[in-house]
């Protein structure tokens, strides 16, 4: 069943699977209004992705890039190179993958928590609420480059404010640690990512909370529920649809985050902060090895697809929602 129904056609004959007979004459309507999205997605996302798939099966290196249609087909060779854990390439990919998993769990979890806390804290109207709302959205509003480069600046060992506070002013540490190289780099990239990501969660929760009718809280309060109980019994379930999508999407974005490590660490990328999106770029595109880079990307895609499907299945099964 395609979505290429031209505008203004007669109503399609209803097939046996169409719902509600009342809508039989308008069954083309959803397809029609879906059309712009489909065309755009095909052009910008789908076709390039398919091309990317193809690229993973050919030897697309600097020698072939000009006549990329003639690049030799190498089957699964690129994949083999990517996952051969006896070679540095495979090992580094695996280690990058593990770092990214840890990174994503922490960032998504904490951003969710902070976003939820802030949204709940600002749920009731009070004087100055707007100020807080704006303030909390600023990290998200800043150009990414500026935000991350500021953190790079702050995390410098000798001239950064973080060490200035920790060592010089509070005296918590004796010696100024490195934050941008070595093992601490992981903490740095997590904190910076959270700084930028939590306002987003906050934004989404804020919107969601606004559509929860106040009566539900009143009813719950009258039943003697504590605020925590109310949050669990009213807020969370009502936010479920927003939550469900948001968690998944945040997971995907954070996992695929390229810019944060790229800007934070510049060219001095530490292994502790080696996130997979940048790793793939570094290990392949930088040296024109698009075949292997694409293979790595496809593997990444398969992993994320798997996680998403499991997640969607689990949440659908639990909540009985029919939303895809």
């Amino acid at each position: 069943m395609t979505v290429t129904a031209p505008r203004g056609t007669e109503a399609r004959p209803a097939s046996a699977e169409q719902p509600a007979p009342r809508r039989r004459h308008r069954t083309w309507f959803p397809y029609l209004i879906l059309l712009p999205a489909v065309i755009l997605e095909l052009l910008i996302h789908i076709v390039p992705m398919v091309t990317g798939f193809w690229m993973s099966f050919v030897e697309l290196t600097k020698f072939f890039i000009r006549r990329w249609t003639e690049a030799p087909f190498v089957g699964l060779e690129n994949y083999r190179i990517a996952v051969d854990f006896d070679t540095p390439i495979g090992q580094e990919l695996l280690s990058s993958f593990l770092v990214t998993v840890a990174f994503t769990v922490l960032v998504v979890g904490l951003s969710w928590g902070l976003g939820m806390a802030a949204a709940v804290a600002l749920q009731r109207p009070f004087r100055g609420r707007g100020v807080f709302r704006t303030l909390f959205l600023i990290p998200y509003a800043l150009p990414l480059y500026a935000a991350v480069i500021t953190w790079n600046f702050m995390l410098q060992r000798d001239t950064g404010v973080i060490n200035h506070i920790l060592v010089d002013q509070l005296g918590l540490l004796d010696e100024a640690p490195f934050w941008l190289i070595g093992d601490n780099a992981f903490i740095s990239v997590v904190v910076v990512a959270i700084w930028r990501m939590w306002p987003f969660a906050f934004l989404m929760f804020m919107a969601g909370l606004q559509s929860i009718p106040g009566e539900l809280y009143e009813a719950s309060a009258m039943d003697g529920a504590s605020p925590l109980r109310q949050w669990r019994a009213v807020t969370l379930p009502m936010l479920a649809p927003v939550n469900q999508t948001m968690l998944l999407v945040m997971f995907l974005w954070v996992f695929n985050d390229f810019n944060t490590p790229y800007i934070l660490f510049g060219t001095a990328q530490p292994p502790a902060g080696d996130l997979i999106s940048f790793h793939i770029y570094n290990a392949s595109f930088l040296s024109w090895d698009f075949g292997v880079g694409s293979a790595m990307s496809v593997l990444l895609l398969l992993f994320l697809l798997l996680v998403s499907l499991v997640y969607l299945y689990a949440t659908q099964w639990r909540k009985g929602r029919s939303h895809a």
């Binding site: 309507f29 959803p30 810019n259």
Partner: protein, 279 residues
């Protein structure tokens, strides 16, 4: 319903903690943008040795900031507008109808979020080049190409979120509208959209921010004329110097309109907007 003490304490702690977390880098940005370059390269000080507005002046000439700003503004606003419109229609279809291919559409759309952007880059560039060659529509190095790219980037998430918000609007409202003889389009415009306003605003903000900050594709799809801010800011790190104070001054300057815009959006989050909807 009065606030309990527990809630009050929770609120104070959360707001205070988050405020510090957010404000620290912001303060560093502002303070650094007012420092002479020599200050910036020495050890950190809370206050500038002398407050200077030079960075705010020089930043316009080191890099053609004004042009980049206009480009970003145009590209981002147009992309946001169209993205929201397209997403609204798509989300309406997904939310209100169980049509053939619905699941496929949603899953495919979601799967686009799983592909690292770097992989899209080259194929997309090639597509644009070929459209130019075949149809004569210039897409590389033009604002249009960037607009189309950005509006599509924010579509998947926007459609998912809006569908979710729409799902939360009871279908009884639709029925009520139909009983009054309204067509699908009217229901969408008169009933569903007003009720989903917070969601739409949130999605619009998301679309705007996605376009505003995107670096990778902009670096390849723009020329000097059409370059956006996100790419332009990187040019303050030149061959000879990293003009920290100017970078941060420029970041502040270009963030102000965005922040002001946010402030104005506050009104749309007013509670009670949907409270009376079912009447």
């Amino acid at each position: 319903m009065r606030e309990t003490l527990g809630e009050k304490i929770f609120r104070v702690i959360v707001l205070a903690g988050l405020s510090v977390f957010v404000l620290l880098p912001l303060y560093v940005m502002v303070a650094t943008s007012l420092k002479p370059l020599g200050d910036v390269q020495a050890g950190f000080t809370w206050f500038p040795s002398r407050i200077t507005f030079e960075p705010f002046v020089e930043m316009w000439s080191t890099v053609p900031l004004a042009r980049y700003f206009m480009n970003s503004l145009v590209v981002t606003s147009v992309a946001t507008l169209f993205s929201v419109v397209v997403a609204i229609f798509a989300a309406y279809a997904v939310s209100r109808w169980r049509f053939h291919g619905r699941n496929a559409f949603m899953t495919t759309v979601l799967s686009t979020q799983m592909f690292p952007g770097v992989l899209f880059l080259l194929p997309l560039y090639l597509i644009f080049v070929n459209i130019d060659a075949t149809f004569g529509v210039p897409l590389v190095g033009t604002r249009i190409g960037l607009i189309i790219t950005y509006l599509t980037f924010s579509l998947p998430f926007s459609i998912w979120m809006l569908a979710g918000y729409f799902d939360g609007i009871p279908k009884e409202l639709d029925q009520a509208g139909k009983v009054d003889g309204a067509g699908n389009l009217t229901i969408l415009l008169r009933i569903v959209l007003p009720a989903a306003r917070p969601g739409i605003v949130a999605v619009a903000i998301y679309a705007f921010m996605t376009a505003w900050g995107e670096v990778l594709f902009a670096s390849v799809l723009t020329t000097e004329e059409t370059r956006t801010l996100a790419v332009g800011l990187r040019q303050y790190a030149t061959q000879t110097n990293v003009y920290w104070n100017q970078i941060l001054a420029a970041s502040i300057a270009v963030s102000i309109p965005v922040v002001v815009g946010f402030l104005m959006m506050q009104k749309n989050f007013v509670a009670g907007l949907t409270a009376g909807a079912v009447k």
